[in-house]
């Protein structure tokens, strides 16, 4: 392991422990790590964005004379009017361009991928490898049909929900509850994975950095707690 790698690993371990110190309680070490992270993310974003503009627009403009890049760059510069109160309205020009382009492009594909294709897929769903007469195929198809119809019924608000519609809406509500439960379970799994990832880094990579950083962190934490208690005792 080279010295830069060692320093990088130690730094990563220190920052991980600084963030996890929040589990004890809110503290300055956690705040410092949080602010440094935000600063680094913003700086990284700014540098990569600038590099992209340089490669894609400025270089062709300056070296190949592709003058048409001037227009999008000028429109992009209008974003800076966000900081000028008097001419703030100019800032709306690039914003509307970005929003308009995004919505236009999104809508075109959305109708197909999230509406038509979803309906088609729902009608022909279940296990694609199973024969149409197999039990799991039939069971899945029936479950999907009942739950989809029930959920759609739940969102019918133009007619008073009574009779058959009321019962269908109940099915929809239960369907959504099951979906929310599943989503919550997945969220728990994801959060555990993140903790496991960090713990694995501390314990395994590359030489078990936790074995010397964690005791030091515990000592620092204990010292901080003792100092705070002694301060509290003096005040009292």
């Amino acid at each position: 392991m080279t010295i830069p790698e060692m320093l990088g690993t130690l730094m990563a371990a220190t920052f991980t422990l600084m963030v996890y110190s929040f589990f004890y309680k809110e503290n300055k070490a956690y705040r410092l790590a949080e602010h440094i992270f935000i600063g680094l993310a913003v700086a990284h974003g700014a540098v990569t964005s600038s590099k992209y503009i340089w490669d894609t627009a400025l270089t062709p403009l300056l070296t190949k004379g592709e003058t048409y890049w001037i227009l999008p760059m000028l429109v992009g510069l209008l974003f800076l009017f966000f900081f000028v109160k008097k001419y703030f309205w100019i800032y709306r020009i690039p914003i509307s361009t970005v929003v308009g382009t995004g919505i236009g492009l999104g809508m075109a594909g959305l109708m197909r991928t999230q509406f038509v294709d979803q309906i088609k897929a729902t009608i022909g769903l279940a296990n694609p490898k199973a024969a149409w007469y197999s039990a799991d195929y039939l069971i899945n198809m029936v479950i999907v049909a009942i739950m989809v119809i029930g959920t759609l019924a739940f969102f019918i608000f133009t007619i008073e929900q009574k009779g058959a519609l009321k019962y269908a809406a109940h099915v929809g509500r239960w369907t959504m509850m099951i979906a929310f439960g599943a989503a919550f379970g997945f969220t728990v799994m994801a959060r555990m994975s993140l903790l496991i990832g960090r713990m694995q880094f501390l314990l395994d990579y590359p030489t078990g950095v936790a074995w010397y950083t964690v005791p030091i962190a515990i000592l620092i934490l204990a010292a901080v707690v003792l100092m705070q208690r002694s301060k509290g005792a003096k005040k009292a």
Binding site: A108, G109, A182, M189, L194, I196, G197, L203
Partner: protein, 279 residues
């Protein structure tokens, strides 16, 4: 104060400590609990299996370092699988801070990146493509203009494997390692729907429920979080791939058992408090 009342008022830090222990112990001394493969992970594997040598594949790294624990093993496994199949890998990312992670995964797979003799002929890293969905649309329409240079500043025209690549139609497969927006829906709208590009994805567990709806009609295969990546590693063992996710899956399973135990205990305590008073 009864036991259940104490349980309801337990210091949350005691729970954190228990969780740390339950996660750390299997990582230090793995149990080796069995890992079964899901239909979606098998489908992901099968789609890559069907590739022929020389097929072009886009591997888009669309996640942040925050979800590295889940997505990095899937990225490494995917790259190893693509190499085993002889596919030509075009790496890029729509999340600026994900590209260094993809570069790391490429280094782990190939040994090095820009200095590697295979760089530019078997794999390339185009770097970050901005503007989310609009960027995906632009990339699909014209790869050369959208990415005029690779991650290291080499003109795309000077990269041998990219000379004949013009649009999304030149790619056999799109793999997005995604954890949010832009991610799977955007790729489907701009590539799968527009060009019919076969799409598979590795998503974080949080995104999994929202991604399942696209399987199998629109997304050919899905790796769901750390568990999916572990399943994929099991499938890749036939290529001699050595995974790292058996101990983490032990930790995952035990931590889930702990959460279940807390939920059950919490509910019992709540029920005793609520219904016990009436007696």
């Amino acid at each position: 104060m009864s036991l259940f009342e104490r349980l309801e008022k337990v210091d949350v830090r005691a729970i954190y400590l228990l969780l740390f222990l339950v996660i750390s112990l299997p990582l230090i001394k793995p149990i080796g609990m069995p890992i079964t493969t899901s239909q979606m992970t098998i489908a992901y594997y099968d789609v890559v299996e069907k590739l022929k040598a020389g097929d072009y594949v886009v591997v888009s790294s669309d996640f942040s370092p925050a979800s590295m624990a889940e997505q990095y093993p899937a990225t490494k496994g995917t790259l190893a699988h693509l190499v085993a199949k002889g596919a030509k890998i075009v790496g890029l990312g729509f999340w600026a801070d994900s590209v260094p992670l993809l570069e790391n995964a490429m280094k782990a797979t190939f040994g090095s990146t820009k200095d590697n003799p295979k760089y530019g002929t078997d794999f390339v890293l185009l770097g970050w493509v901005p503007n989310g969905e609009v960027g995906m649309a632009a990339l699909g329409k014209d790869v050369q203009t959208t990415c005029p240079k690779d991650y290291y500043g080499t003109a795309i025209g000077a990269i041998p494997m990219m000379k004949d690549i013009k649009s999304a139609r030149d790619f056999k497969l799109l793999i997005t390692i995604a954890s949010g927006t832009p991610g799977v829906p955007e790729w489907l709208r701009q590539w799968q729907a527009a060009y019919g590009t076969t799409t598979i994805t590795a998503v974080t567990a949080v995104s999994a429920p929202a991604t399942r709806i696209y399987f199998p009609a629109q997304v050919g295969g899905v790796i769901e979080g750390l568990a999916g990546a572990a399943e994929y590693e099991v499938l890749l063992t036939r290529y001699g791939y050595k995974g790292t996710l058996v101990p983490p899956m032990d930790a995952q399973s035990l931590s889930h058992l702990l959460v279940i135990a807390f939920i059950v205990l919490g509910n019992i305590a709540f029920a005793v408090r609520k219904y016990g008073k009436g007696k």
